[in-house]
């Protein structure tokens, strides 16, 4: 009896050890980035120390003084809010009949939605670039925000999965009470689906806060740059003939960029696992 307990103890210790090793590996880049922001450029490029020897705040003051950081923040926030509001509204509306109603062509539409989930955005970005150029939307946030109001297949799918887990009897009793389909959606489904709205909102905010590809294609001028492009292009300067990357400033800016998604994660944590419903996948 004792040996069984000792064995369990040992197993539990080994498990902890593995968990800690994985945690250290996963957390390493964050530590590297956040301590890097407090190093001087000389130290950053000459020693691999994790803890900075000469602790300095100059990178942070440099970011706020010598770049348009507030413009970049404004653009990123606009982009993030616009796309998230758009996709929450439109994707949940589209998911509702797919989860709850019988109608002609339902299977065809659902198949197309699943199929479009598999088209990578980047395959269509060049024709979209020309198209948005023709209607004069280039160098603005519109090419990214407007499509969000017309439902993303992936989010439609997540909403549908969740709606299917809500008992249909609720719809039926609401119908008997005289509710229309629209009223059922807003009065029954939306309040019950808060975890899914929160999950998709968090995922969408994090995605757009960090998105690089589409802004790189669509945005040219400094006044519409997002933080991600700024991180790539704003912290380099030429000194004589050499091209110098100001690494510690990039790390400092990256540190600041990690904070909002981290807070969002804290806030949305309790929804994140429960909000992604997978039960409907099995059938």
């Amino acid at each position: 009896m004792k040996s069984v307990k000792a064995k369990q103890r040992l197993n539990s210790c080994i498990l902890y050890l593995i968990k800690i090793i994985v945690a250290v590996i996963m957390f390493l880049p964050i530590i590297w980035i956040s301590t890097g922001g407090f190093k001087t450029l000389t130290e950053f490029t000459s020693s691999p120390n994790i803890i900075p020897e000469n602790f300095t705040m100059e990178n942070f003051s440099y970011i706020f003084k010598s770049s348009n950081i507030w413009v970049y923040v404004r653009n990123t926030v606009l982009l993030m809010l616009g796309t998230t509001v758009g996709t929450l509204l439109s994707s949940s509306l589209v998911a509702y009949p797919l989860a709850r109603m019988d109608f002609v062509g339902k299977n065809v539409i659902f198949t197309i939605i699943i199929a479009t989930m598999m088209i990578p955005n980047i395959a269509l970005i060049i024709p979209q670039y020309i198209m948005f150029g023709k209607i004069g939307w280039l160098d603005s946030l519109l090419p990214m925000i407007v499509p969000a109001f017309f439902a993303y297949p992936y989010n439609v799918f997540l909403f549908r999965q969740f709606f299917r887990t809500i008992p249909r009897e609720l719809d039926e009793s609401a119908t008997i009470d005289g509710c229309s389909r629209v009223q059922i959606f807003f009065k029954v489904l939306v309040p019950l689906s808060k975890p899914t709205y929160a999950t998709i909102a968090v995922l969408s905010c994090v995605f757009w806060w960090n998105e690089l590809t589409q802004p790189v294609f669509y945005i040219n001028s400094d006044q519409w740059r997002t933080m991600t492009i700024a991180l790539m292009t704003s912290y380099m300067y030429t000194s004589g003939n050499a091209f110098v990357i100001n690494w510690p400033s990039i790390m400092a800016a990256a540190t600041l960029m990690i904070v909002p998604p981290m807070l969002l994660y804290f806030f949305g944590n309790k929804f994140l696992v429960g909000g992604i419903k997978t039960t409907g996948l099995k059938g």
Binding site: L15, I109, A115, P127, T213, M262, L281, G283
Partner: protein, 308 residues
Amino acid sequence: MSNEKKKKRLSPRKKKDTLTAYAFISPWIIGFACFTLFPIFFMLQVSLTNRKLNGISKFIGFKNYMNMFKSPAFWNSIKVTLLFTIIMVIVTTVWAVIMALLLNQKQRLNGIFQFCYFLPSVIPSVALAYAFRTIFGKEAGLLNAFLSLVSGKNVSVNWLYNHSTVYMAVFFITLFTYNTGQMMLIFRSGLSDVPGELYEACDLDGAGAFRKFFSVTLPMISPLVLFNAVNGCVSALNGSFALLYPLTGESGNPDGMTQVLSLLIYKEAFSNMKVGYACALSVLLFLLAALFGTALFSLSKKFVYYEN
């Protein structure tokens, strides 16, 4: 039976529902027509012209495609894209399953562990790329310093510019991407749905941990593995740009070894200003994505376990 049903006229309720349903779905229909269907046809059309970035274009037939199939850079990028996508999907899915399994073992401090495991995926890919450019750097790189410390010898490898190490380095970095974290969350929720009785039955039979994983856990979460693999393919094709562009540049250093198709498309369209040619490349990327999708779904018929 189904024939009989079809012949029956639609009930008034279903007729009314169909109208309401299409009203709800209309945003997607408009979006699909404007932002997916139209660009597909437009892309096919532009790929037959020598359109430049400034908009000047002339019909040249299949010349872009012929040039493409003769170009070594194109074949190289197809090879790199296939390799990158397949390995990245495998590496990130396996890693996500491992992390989810670890977190599924109920122990104290699990909240902190989940925080540590998920947090890297909220780092913007640019920041991740720049962090690893320095961690894997030759001078003052963290990895070289660590290896020197462990081995006692002076290690100075330029991990991202060395032909034999670049893939290892890049695939290691994919463990920290957004996609891995999202997969982990999905597996987490899937694992918590696996009925506990199945494990108890295993315990009675005296099955070990590995046996349990392969005969209970894996079959039960196989639909999720498929979902994540499909999704991971799209993310690999899509997200490779956001990771590799700041990491190894549009030419995919060293010597195009990491130049996936999306980087080549960007380079052709914006550095070489050949939009027509870039569209022809996009058509190929589109077909490649379709190929991956079909392959995964036909595989799934063989290996995925569905209840009932």
